[in-house]
């Protein structure tokens, strides 16, 4: 298929009709519905499958679900997760002594959520993570667990995940 070149009629060759056409299109759009979201005032709701900040989830018994198997640490492409494992008296035996996620490195690919066998890490809808200092972007275990508890739609749900 060879594209056709439109041939201009004599009145189209004049300068004014062209300008008029363009102005008319712009003018018509003045009265159409606006598509811009006035961001800080107007909030935007992410769709259900949105991948935002990864957080740690708490089980129904109030303990963190993570057993520090370190699968998320190994799969993470930019290597943004660091886990130090510890032992407990609990029958699960292992728990994360330290758990860091560097949001400065995280690319929100969702691999950690995908590999986690305990469904302990989950990408919530939070996306406003900017900071003036890079060190503030490294989130520790306490903060991650706290962020996980804040999710209202996760409360009382044993399995909130859609797995790929």
């Amino acid at each position: 298929m060879i594209v056709k070149r439109p041939v201009l009629k004599w009145w189209e060759r004049l300068y004014l009709p062209v300008v008029e056409d363009g102005l008319l299109t712009t003018f018509r759009h003045l009265f159409k519905k606006k598509v811009t979201v006035q961001y800080p005032e107007e909030r935007w709701v992410p769709p259900e499958g949105f991948r935002g900040a990864p957080v740690l989830l708490t089980g129904l018994d109030g303990r963190e679900k993570c057993t520090s198997c370190k699968l998320c640490m190994f799969i993470c492409p930019p290597q943004a997760i660091r886990i130090v494992a510890g032992e407990t008296e609990h029958p699960i035996e292992k728990y994360p002594q330290e758990f860091y996620i560097d949001y400065g490195l995280c690319i929100f690919c969702g691999y950690c959520q995908e590999v986690c066998p305990c469904e302990a890490i989950w990408l919530k809808h939070e996306f406003e993570l900017a900071d003036f200092d890079r060190t503030n972007l490294i989130f520790g275990k306490d903060k991650l667990l706290q962020m996980g508890r804040q999710e209202p739609y996760l409360k009382g749900k044993e399995k909130p995940l859609k797995k790929g």
Binding site: M1, I2, V3, R5, P6, L8, E12, R13, L14, Y15, V18, D21, G22, T25, T26, H29, V35, P46, P47, E48, G49, F50, R51, I75, P77, I107, F108, C109, G110, Y111, L123, K162, G164
Partner: protein, 376 residues
């Protein structure tokens, strides 16, 4: 020749060539690209491209990651068409592993690829027009692109770099109501293009800026290895979707728009027509979507066989190829990317010969380079 001096002046007036740097911080180069122009008056005699300002070592980076881990980095090649890049890499690995991909997954991939092609062309449409001087087109182009990004966000969960496909198929089925939303977008899209074309295609000013500018002949285009709309604008029938069919493309009925003269205007027309063809493909894919599995049989920890593989897809800029060498471990031994923008950039020297400096922005805009892909 216009730029030759009259003979009686040649002995009297001494002239010399002038070197001018365009970029690396020039808004019309669409990134950090530098062109050293050798000028004779206002006409360009020679163009030297200087690339590498955005080099991130993606090919090397991939060698230190497992097969799955390396997937998201290829989104960052041509960040305006991340889905197609992902398809290229994932397809190459699947070819290496000889995985059978379910029909439904292939159809879903085609739908997302074509939507991404439209999105990429829309942004090109806006910025190319902005370079030449038509301001309002950018707003319209970005508005339509936003609708596509919203669709992708609901499906993939991200807005720009999607990490779209896992090796072996697709991650999730389309969410509830997605197909209706997609159809709604497609129904309005063709009339929207008509509206935007009314601004440019028959515009006298637009035609004066683009017709006869940046001409590259058929032979030159092939010799320089160009691909995509830049090649098809010169009238060469080559599209990976037709010539080296992959995925589910043989199932669909669509045409490849070709230009004739190989100037900026032809490349513009080709891309506009391509968007309409993409709409046709998506409509057919949505109609004929089969039921079935989403993912083929791929082990969780991939250990690939030894060997080499080359897989190409038709990216939004041209032929995007992945050449992978595997030494039988869980990581690629070497990943080479044949990126269309980098190779299309070679043709710029030929296109800009004897053109005015003012037309440079039109020519660079017409080959639609993304510097993330040029420098890798």
């Amino acid at each position: 020749m216009q730029n030759e001096k009259p003979s009686h002046l040649k002995e009297l007036v001494e002239t010399r060539e002038f070197e001018l740097n365009m970029g690396p911080q020039h808004p019309a180069t669409h990134g950090v690209y530098r062109a050293i122009l050798t000028l004779d008056g206002e006409r360009i005699q020679k163009l030297n491209s200087v690339v590498g300002y955005l080099h991130r070592g993606i090919e090397k980076w991939a060698e230190y990651r497992t097969w799955q881990q390396a997937t998201p980095i290829f989104d960052r090649l041509d960040y305006l068409s991340a889905v197609i890049n992902c398809h290229g890499y994932v397809g190459a690995v699947e070819k290496l592993l000889q995985v059978e991909i379910p029909k439904k997954a292939e159809y879903m991939r085609v739908i997302c690829d074509e939507l991404q092609r439209i999105a990429s062309h829309l942004l090109w449409f806006g910025t190319h027009a902005l370079d030449i001087g038509a301001m309002s087109v950018l707003f319209y182009g970005v508005r339509e692109r936003e609708a596509i990004i919203d669709l992708f966000e609901a499906h993939f969960g991200q807005r720009l770099l999607y990490n779209a496909y896992p090796i072996g198929g697709v991650r999730l089925d389309f969410p509830k109501g997605w197909i209706q939303a997609c159809r709604k977008f497609l129904n309005t899209f063709n009339s929207r293009i008509d509206e935007y074309e009314a601004l440019l295609t028959e515009n006298r000013i637009w035609k004066q800026r683009t017709i006869g500018v940046g001409v590259i002949s058929k032979e030159d285009a092939i010799a320089y290895g160009l691909s995509g709309p830049t090649l098809r604008g010169s009238g060469v029938y080559f599209d990976v979707r037709k010539s080296i069919p992959y995925s589910a493309y043989p199932d669909f009925d669509f045409e490849i728009p070709l230009g004739k003269n190989g100037d900026v205007y032809d490349r513009y027309l080709c891309r506009i027509r391509e968007m309409r063809q993409s709409v046709r493909i998506i409509n057919q894919a949505l109609d004929g979507m089969p039921e079935g599995e989403l993912k083929g049989k791929v082990p969780k920890i991939i250990r690939s066989p030894q060997g080499e593989v080359y897989f190409t897809v038709e990216g939004s800029k041209g032929q995007l190829g992945f050449y992978i060498v595997s030494d039988g471990k869980d990581k690629p031994f070497r990943v080479h990317i044949k990126s269309p923008s980098f190779i299309n950039l070679q043709g710029l020297d030929v296109m800009s010969k004897n053109q005015l400096i003012a037309d440079m922005v039109a020519i660079i805009g017409s080959i639609d380079i993304v510097l993330g892909e040029v420098d890798r």
